[in-house]
Structures are given as C-alpha cells and as structure tokens.
C-alpha cells in the first residue's frame, strides 16, 4: 500500500491551514473523501437524479439501481448473506436507535437486562438509557480496566437469564482499544442473549465478516470510511428484522395503506420510511470500491505502523500520558493522550496552529473519561492516507506546544 500515491486521490489533503499543509489526524471522527466518491456524488446529480422505488421512468430506474447496488456492495463488504439484511439509516447512531425502538420496544419488558460496556460511545448508551427509563429494563456494564481494556472476567457474572441483549463497541473510538468481539459474542450466546456490535471504528479499518461473527445486529457509518455523511448501515439477521416492528412510518415502508391501518413493506424497506439519502447512498459504493481495491488488511497494517511510530514519538516527550493498552496488538489506529498540566483543548488549538487536526475533548464517551479520571484527552487517529512524516510533524508540534506552555514558572501573581 502506497500512502503517498493514495494521497493524490484526496483533494483536501492539499489544503493549507493557516499557511501550513493540513495534517488530518481526526479520522475516528470522520474521514476525508477520495475524488472517486466526490465524483460519484456529482455524477449522480448531473445524470441520474430521481426519486427511487416509485417511478417507472428511466432516471428513477437508474437511481434505484445505484442505491441497490450500494446495498449489495455493502452486504458483500461485511459478509452479510443477503442485501435485504442491510438497512440504510442516517448514521450508526440512528441504526442503534432503530434496534432500540423496533426490537427493544417489542421484545424487552420490565426487569430484562441489557449488557453494555463502560467504553461505549454515547450513541450506544443513551438509546438504551431512554429505553430503560421507558420500560424499566436494567442496564449493566462490563467494566473497563485502568489500562483501557475490558475486564472480561467480570462479564460472565453480569450475564444471566435476564440478559436479553449484549450491545458493545468493537473498537473504542476514545482509546483505540480493540475489543475481543468473538469472546463477548460467545459469552452472550451462551447466556441466550441477542447481540449488537457497534462496528463504527472497526468496519473502516479491518476486515469484518458478520457471518463468521454470527452477531444479530451490526451498525456503522459510511462517513468514517471514505463515504459521504448522512449514510449509516444496520445489518440484522433476517428472521429478527422480519419479527421487528417498523421504525419510522411514512412512504416506502408500507405495502398497503388504508385510512385506518397499513401493512409494512418487505425488508429492508420496512425500515426506510420516506425519501432516503439517495445521492449519498449511491456515492457510498465508490468508497466501498476504493477500500476493497486497497484492501482492509493493508489498511490495518499501515495504521499499525503509524500507531507504533506515534506511540514511540509521543512517549519520548516530557509529561505525556498515553491511554489505552500498551500491547499494540490490542490497539487500532488511535492514540489518545494528555500532557501534564495542560487541557486537551489547548493542545488541540496549539496543534491547529501548525495545521494539525486532532480531536480534543471527551470523544462522546463521558463515562469512560470519568473512569480514567480525566475531563478529556487529545486524540490522533489515523487512516490509509496518513504518513510517517505526518506522525513526525505531530511529534514536533507537540514538542513545541509543551515548550510554549511550560517555558516559565508561574509569575507570582498579585491578583488575590
């Protein structure tokens, strides 16, 4: 894999930020888009734009075929047995909310338990809190160790006959920890619980096969994997999706409508009410093609090399704390850190002045930050177009930042 060559496909990487070449290290938040995806979007609007599943005219046929082609490619990308088991949503958050609404409200009752982990993004926590408030179900959590891994020895004790669902992230967006997905799935299955994997930080970066995992649901977002914003994916086992109630009501999700009732449409349209995000769904195919061509194994290895180098570089600087597992085999391409005496936002702004984009804050994981006893962290997250030179640039900019903020002891103040 040649990251330098790949960079030529990403127009934004040539941008200057405050006169400096952009170093984009906020890929866990969203990734940049290759020209192929941008062109697919304009190609759609210039040549194929129409509403789908309802016209008999040529453009509607073409637009429908493009969206359904993306669905087939998405199914193939994740190893789903049939395209109908792939539901398009706005994002992974909406996909998880769909499960909470359409499966949770139908199948969970007071006293039932949902097992999550302490490392969840708010998107895989708040929907279950909302359901818990409404239905009196109980949320339990697999604890996080101080090193930022899951304490699986505690998991068995948290599972029981009341556990109806185990819903967990496959990789931590805040720390980069890779979660032992198959072990948790095996534990859940032995307790007879359904499973939902939040693959938002996994699907873009490493190969994934839902048939092998045999999870019941899986969610991720297109925009974190070179695709457009506004497209999320929910995979679900066909028999479960069939049993579930619809999510939103409206056009496209119905088979027949009378004044007093409706019958829902077949999968996956039962869950796709209203005009969907047609153009972005069509253009997502170009992102899947791009990743398939490069190969996720190559992406994973490239990110591992960047992560190793970043940890070495940052560890050499004074006052740095790096969070997450020390064992590199348990890490994805995320390096979350703090500098003694400095707030993550000051680090973020200072790096921005050097053209380096990192995320600073709680990363939508406030309970995880509370557990680490920090208000937030600065986070560099890598993707296929990042280079070792960019990691070195991060190291230099951070060294300057530390020097700037620690250059003088506090002048004894007369104020108060």
């Amino acid at each position: 894999m040649d990251a330098k060559k790949i960079r030529d496909d990403f127009p934004i990487l040539k941008r200057k930020i405050r006169g400096k070449t952009l170093v984009y290290l906020d890929n866990a938040a969203t990734t940049q888009k290759p020209r192929q995806v941008i062109q697919a979007l304009s190609e759609f609007y210039e040549n194929h734009n129409a509403n789908i599943h309802r016209g008999v005219h040529t453009l509607s046929d073409e637009a429908t075929a493009l969206v359904e082609e993306t669905r087939s490619k998405t199914a193939a990308f994740i190893g789903a047995p049939k395209p109908e088991t792939v539901v398009f949503t706005r994002n992974a958050t909406e996909a998880i909310n769909l499960v909470a609404h359409s499966w949770g409200r139908k199948f969970l009752k007071g006293g039932d338990e949902v097992l999550l982990t302490e490392m969840e993004h708010h998107s895989n926590l708040v929907p279950w809190q909302m359901l818990a408030q409404e239905r009196g179900i109980l949320l339990r959590f697999i604890p996080m160790t101080p090193e930022g891994t899951l304490d699986l020895s505690a998991a068995a004790g948290l599972l029981g006959p009341k556990t109806k669902l185990v819903s967990f992230t496959a990789a931590s967006n805040a720390l980069g920890t890779l979660i032992p997905v198959e072990k948790i799935l095996a534990l859940a299955k032995s307790a007879g619980a359904k499973t939902l994997v939040d693959a938002s930080q996994w699907a873009p970066h490493r190969p994934l096969d839902v048939a092998r995992w045999d999870c019941d649901f899986l969610a991720f977002s297109a925009h974190k994997m070179l695709g457009p914003t506004g497209v999320g994916v929910l995979y679900g086992k066909e028999e479960l999706l069939e049993q579930m109630d619809p999510f939103l009501g409206g056009g496209d999700m119905i088979s027949r409508v009378f004044l007093d009732r409706f019958t829902p449409n077949a999968l996956p349209f039962k869950f796709e009410a209203g005009t969907p995000n047609i153009a972005d769904e069509a253009a997502f195919a170009a992102a899947l093609d791009y990743l398939t061509k490069v190969g996720l194994t190559a992406v994973r290895e490239h990110e591992a090399a960047l992560t190793k180098k970043a940890i070495e570089t940052l560890s050499a600087l004074p006052g740095i704390t790096i969070y997450g597992p020390k064992d590199l085999a348990q890490r994805g391409g995320v390096v979350s850190f703090n500098v003694d005496g400095l707030h993550a936002h000051d680090i973020g702004t200072s790096l921005d002045l050097e053209g380096i984009a990192v995320r600073a804050g709680h990363h939508c994981c406030q309970p995880l930050m509370n557990k680490l006893k920090v208000p937030g962290t600065a986070r560099a997250s890598f993707y296929l177009y990042n280079t070792l030179e960019e990691v070195a640039a991060l190291g230099r900019a951070l060294e300057k930042t530390i020097a700037f903020f620690t250059k003088k002891p506090a002048a004894v103040s007369s104020h108060g």
Partner: protein
Amino acid sequence: MAEGDQELQDLYREVLLDYFRSGAHKGTLDPADFKAHGINPVCGDEIELTMKTGKEGTIAAVRFSGHGCVISQASSAMMAEALEGKSVSQARELVHAFKGMMLSKAPLESLPEELEALKSLEGVRKFPMRVKCATLAWNTLAQGLAAEGKKSEFQEVE
C-alpha cells in the same frame, strides 16, 4: 515555524498564562451567598462559582472551581478579580461588556477599565470554537444572577 509561534503567543498572551498559573480565586466559598454551576457543552468542562456579598449587597469575595483549559481558567480568574467590590447591577454590566467584546470583531477601546486584563482574551475571537471557553464563567454568572433574581434555586444552572 516562527509564524505558528507568533500565532500561539497572540492567542495565549503572557497575561493570560499568568492568571492561569496563578491559581488566583480558585476554590469554593462555604457558606456562600451565591452559587452557580455551568457546563460548556462543547467539551463538558464544568465550573462552580461561589460568591459572598458584603455590605449593601456588594460582591465581597468570588471563587471558582472545576477543571478547564487555559482560556476558561484565566477568564474565570480575571472575572473574579473584576467582580470583587462591585454591586450586582455593576456585575451585570460587566457581563454585558465582556460578552459584547468576545462576540464582536470591533476594537476594544470601549471596554470598562475593570476589564483591562480581559483584553488579553482578544486573540480568542479568531477561534470561534474557543469563545465558549472564554465566556463559560460569565454565562454561568449571568444565568446564576438571573435565577437568583427570580428567587428560585440557583444550584444547577447550565
């Protein structure tokens, strides 16, 4: 590289760093005559503001606690300094003047002299995402005062 240095110095001025490092006005007054709690929703940073009033309702002492960045902590310390000895209505005017400064691009000459030190936050105006850091303490104060005016509880103000 020098250009980046210049920008860093323009944003994080020496006065600002001095206030940040000084720890002035950090802490909690207990008992307090006024208590307000604020959260910056962008980053989750929290501040708790406590004040004691003296004769004729003037603000006698101000303390703030909680974690935050250089900008929010320095702004809180400078606010606390500016408030001591002021009446509640003067405090409201200072909030108005300071927020006016942070939310406009206009020159700073019209700022009241009590807010002299706060001119060091001028550079923050070029960073829209950071303006909320500078105004956190001030918004907390304003909302706390408003809640107190209504004689309702002013424990949890966001």
